[in-house]
Structure formats: structure tokens, C-alpha cells
Amino acid sequence: MLGAGGLIGADRAQGGMTMPDLGQVFDVLVVGGGNAALCAAISARKLGASVVVAEHAPKSLRGGNSRHTRNLRALHPGPTDVLTESYLEEEYWDDLLRVTKGKTDEHLARTCIRASQHAPGFLRECGVVFQPSLSGTLSLSRTNAFFLGGGKALVNALYRTAERLGVLILYDTEVQHLDVEDGFFKEAIVSYRGFPNRIRAKSVVASAGGFQANRQWMREYWGAAADNFQIRGTPYAQGTVLKDMLSGGVQQVGDPTQFHAVCNDARSPMEDGGLAMRLDCTPFSIVVNKNVERFYDEGEDTWPKRYAIWGRLIAQQPDQRAFAITDSKAVMNYLPSVFPPMRANSIRELAGMFELDADKLEKVVADYNAAVQPGSFNGQELDGCRTEGLTPPKSNWARKIDTPPFIGHPMMPGITFTFLGVKVNDKARVMMADGKPAANIFASGEIMAGNILGQGYLAGFGMTIGTVFGRLAGEEAARNVRN
């Protein structure tokens, strides 16, 4: 019964029957409402600070990109209830070095990797439930801890914990400007449920994500192509706070033109489609662009290792479009797609469905079939079934496309996040352009992930950075108030 009473109380606050007092000076303002923001808010509150969270989204869409996540990567010296074997610092670091090709800050990265050991425990204390890895993700069972029910369940647990601890949560609250003078934050100018307002706090944690959902900004680097990028995550990642901080004298990290992207179904919603829109049929298909030309080796490596390059590859094709062509033999080799694939009894018919040049597609398929070498197909590993004399080659899983119905999946790039961010030190404190640390400004999550992930991506590492730096930022912001 107490629970119901509490619920009614919370609903009233949401319904505006009791207005929160925004006239007070809070100890800590957390900007954003995803995993990194909530970890910061909870950590600051646990140290006794008064905390307010300004989440741009309404309650039903809260949680930023964390809503679409499903695991985090955690160091562990031995098996745990949800992680197998062990995953130690050097291997973790090597994995990171490989994907970033050295575009990382070793000190920050190792700080994050070491602290990741305690991230699952912290989240568990916040009510997050973990489970063994999901089907189709067995390659991650050793390194990544999966959230039962996925990221939204994690977000729900974090909000409940924050509310229970007495953190004030403001939904529909967009932070538009941080008033900063000589590295000292004074107040935030916000739109609170559609009305202009301001929030004063002694310190601020910026956990407001990247700018991938801001098409106008993306167009600055990508021109008209940006209009064909699907945004996989939250539409609230507008980069307003990021841009405001960078123009307000905060030091920048990361290449503003770079983003992480995967290959999505071309029919997905342009925003917020989440993980289920991705296609993993590529290794078992040939992929052509709109001019009916193959452009990359579809069988180069196992899909988890190639998952992230195909978004970029397709983004560079005309009209940011590509088409995976395969046949009925391959259907059970990959996860089902949300939108049913095109099926046709001939390659010519399939070309018609995609408005591709039918003669050309028949020739591409025929040339490919002629180049396929005999071999023993195995969808689970590099099987050496390859083409000979084809450019570009297909190095594995090359089987003739000859068994109707022929299958086609239309593809577009789906952007996960941008790499541009604010520079922080190992206490999550924001660095000013003049090289000095800010007095009372901290950052966590995607807005600072570029410090560690200069390029590429490691599955589950975004949530690790968010949790580790969220905790750091929250604790440091709370301590900062006390001093």
C-alpha cells in the first residue's frame, strides 16, 4: 500500500499538482536522463548532496540512448553469475586499442577499464537485474553483462532508485544554456515543461549525450547525405549542451565529422528505431549499391567484428542506399529482420522490386556465382568458402545465389552516436580550452566518451563509460560542493 501511495505522489508531481521548487539552489544539477546522468545523480545523492536531474524527454521516452542498450562490458578476474571465464585489464585494453586504432587516452581508458569491475555491482545495488547473454550474442557471454529486459529496464530501476533517495527528477526539461564564467558554472537556462525557467546549482554534471539527432548540425559535415542517416537512438540527442559548452570555452575532443553507424533496414523509422532495425544478413549475401555495384568484401570477417563498419560503408554510397541479395538457403543463417525481406522467383523480379537495373543485377549475380569456389559452408565460423577472381572478393560464406525464392533486404546507415565531446580529466572534471580544469563542471556518458573512444566501438563499452564516469562525476560534484 505504501508503494501505491508513493506512486500517486510521484504522479501528482508529474501532473503539476505540486510544483517543484526551482527557486532553491541545488548542490548538483545533472543535465540529461540516461544511464550516465542517473549514475551521477545517485552517486551525488548518496554523498548527501541535493540533486536535480533535468531530462529533456517526457517520462515515457526517458533514458536517452540507454533505453536501447542491453549490456555493459566489465572487467572480471573470474567467472561471475552472469559472466564466464575472466576478462582482465590487458585484454580489455588490447580490445580497445584495436577498435580505436590508438585514438584513445590510455590513462582515462585504463581508469575506466579498472573501475568497470565494480560497475555491475553498483548497478545491481540500484535495482538493475542481470541475466546470462542472449541468444545470438554468445560471442559476448565472456565480456559483457546483459540487463534483464534490456536498457529500458535498467533505466526504470535507476529512476526508481534516484527517486527513492530523494533526487528531484524534472521531465520535459530541456537545458538550453549553461551560464559559465571563467570555468565556473552559475546557472542553467532551461525550458521547463515548455516554459522558460532557470536552475541554480553549486555544480553541474553534463550527461546530455551527443548530437547525432541534430540533422542541421550533421549537414554541416555531411551535406545532403545527412538527411538519409537513420538515428538509431533517442531523438533528444540534439547536442544543445555540447555545442553550448564548446562555444563557452570548454576543450573539445573527438573528430566532429565522425560517428558510429551500423547497417539498418532502409524501411526503419528515421529516429528511435533502436537495435532491432539492424540487419546482420551481410555475411550471407552480396551487397550492391544503387548502381548495382558491389563495394566491399561481405565475408571479410565474422559479423560481430564487421558489424560496425557497414554503416559507414553504406553512408558513402550514392543516396546512402544498399541492397543485400541472397537466396532461400541463407534465411536461417541470420536473425529475422523486423520488416519482411523482398522475395522473388527471379533476380530480375527482385531487381524490379528495388528499382535496380535488372540486367546489371543478373550479371552481378551471375559473375559472383561463377566465381564461387567449392567449399564446405559453416555459418558459425570463418569457413573459407570464397570467390576467385572477383573484385571485391567475398572471402567467406560465399555460396551460389541460385535457390528461389531470392531474398533482398534494403539497407541504410543507422547512426548510433557521434564522437565529438568535451575534454575531461580522470575525475570526470571538464577541462577548459586554456588547459585548466573547470571549477564546478563535470561530464559523463556519450558527451565525453570521445576522450576514450576516438573511433570505432566495443560492444557494451558506452554503458561502461557512462556508469564509471557517471559515478565519478556525481561523487566529485558532491565533494566539490562540500569543499
Binding site: L7, L148, K152
Partner: protein, 370 residues
Amino acid sequence: MPTESDATQEARRYLEVCNACRYCEGYCAVFPAMTLRREFSTGDMQHLANLCHGCKGCYHSCQYAPPHAFGINLPSSFATIRNESYEQYAWPPALGNVFKRNGTVVSLVAALGIALALILTAVIQDPGVLYGAHAGPGAFYQVIPWWLMVVLAGGSLGFSVLALTVGAVRYWRGTGSKPGPVIAPAADATVDILTLRNLGGGGHGCNDTDEGFATHRRWSHQALMYGFLLCFASTSVATVYDHWLALEAPYAFLSLPVQLGTWGGALMLLGVIGLTWVKIVTDPVPVAKHLAGGEFALLALLFLVAATGLLLLGIRHTGAMGVLLAIHLGLVLSLFVTLPYSKMVHGLYRGLALYRSAQEKRTMKASSSD
């Protein structure tokens, strides 16, 4: 094959997203059963809907729940499909229509049950007998003759068991379920039912009322179920006492039938109160609101059956016993009659769905280890 309902088409669209997402795999039996399929027939949809316990875990954790454009809300659609399957597989088929307005039907049957019992008693018995105080062995039968009890209770229960059996066969065939191993899956399903494992969420509970986890529904349902079973055991023991041991009711408070009935009745009351509370305060989106009438009517009927039974124990030595006994037996009769035609029938189809799911899981395991 009847044309597909909106709810079935809607839920199929949801499952096409679910099958590519799979974040809910750890929740309940529905999702592992889903991943075994790429295409979902009408029968598959009914099977999955009846496998769903309405825990709402998948809704509250869904990245695509409303107001997302995909608007995924499996618990609500599944509840509607379940009700449609009760309607489709009811026997005799014409009686399937009672699921269209189940709250009204169950309430009316309960009222008629009470009225019938009272009228019959008044017609058969002298008013002096009905309002008099009775004690000692055979006191109940002085009010309502033994033969009448047997005819009404036996007749209605017998018909319901027949209707449920035919319904089970129709459901099994209609959903396209296949024969397979029997013993081990039946044991799995029995454990699932006795522990209500699928409402456990893996230990922390399910989303009873909101995005927080709780086990109120699981405990309340089991209190009601075990209470009901204890009451049934009480009646069975009493029948044995009466016929084979020549011990006539009413029995002493500490006797086995009265103890079973008392504890069973108390558990039923607790269960009904718990389930009703959850139903009232729960988030209204992941449920099928149009079915609440039938659910509340059944809960009320179960409450009245238990409450009048307990009350009867308290006042059986007074002159009020006769009327109350008639009312209690009228309510029991109504419950027996509505077994195949109320939410009670969910137990049958849920059991079959759990059985089929266990069968598929074992077949799958056997074939993958080959």
C-alpha cells in the same frame, strides 16, 4: 478457419519486432517459444497468448512501448487473444458468446444460482424447517435434501468437466499442437503451475502495478488457487466421510473437512483481495480493460463462495443457517456452471500452453544435442 482478429494481427506485428530484438528473452516462457519460430500462424498466436501470464515485464522494459511509433503492448493484445480463444474453443460452440459479455453473464449466473437455491428450498421445505435451528448429523440435509445437492452439484460439475474436456481437445487441435513426449513435459508444466514460475521474473517478481518489481500477484494467485484446491479437497473428504464412513455433515470444527475448508476459504479471501487490489491500482495500459468486467465478476463470485462458506461455519447452529446454506450452495452451483464459461477456464488453456511449451523445449534440446 475463422478470419483473424485485429488483436492477432496486431500481436503478430509486435512479434516480428520482438523476434529481431529479443531483449525480453530472460523474462518468461513466451520469448524462448517465440525464438523457435520465424512465422506465426493463428494457432501459434493463440498458443503464445495463453502461455503469457500477463506479468507485464516485457511491456515495462520495452524500448518500443507506446508512445514509440511501434507501440508494442504484448500483454494487452495477448489478453484479448486469450479471451478470443476461450470463445472460439468453448463447447458447445454457441456458448462461446458468453465471453463477449462475461462480467454480465457471470454476475447473472451467480444471481440466478442463489435465487434457484432459495426458491427450490422454499418450495420443497416447510418454512419452519428453513428458518429453524438444526444441529447434529444430517442438519444440512434437513434444509436441503441430500438428493437435491447431489443432482445439482453432480450434474453441473459433470457437465462442466465434459465441456472443459471437449474444449481442451478443440484448443489442442485448433492451435495446431502436435503429439510428442508426455510425461516429462507434463511434469514441467505441473511444476510451472504449482510454483507459478512465470510470474517470478527470475526471483525478483514481475511488474504488478508499474515499472517496479513485486510478487503480490504471484502470491495472491497462489493463495486463491491453493485455497480453492483445499476447499475442493474439503468437499471430497466430506463425500468420502458421508458415503463410505457413514459420517454425516456438519462436522466438528477440528475435523478434516472443516479444517481444509476453513483454511482454504481464508486463503481464497486473501487471494481475491490481493488480485482485486492489483487489478485496481495497476497501470491501465498493458492490460485489456474491456475484459475487466468478467475478471471482477469471477473474483467477486469466488469471494462470495469463500465468505458464505466461512460465515456458514460461524452461524451453522442458528436459525440463519438454512437461508445461508441455500445461498452458499447457490453460489457454488454458479461457480461449477461457469467453470468453462468464465476466466476460470484460463487454467485449462494456460496448462495446455505450458505443456506444449515444455514439449517444444525438450524436443528442441533433444534435436540440438543429436
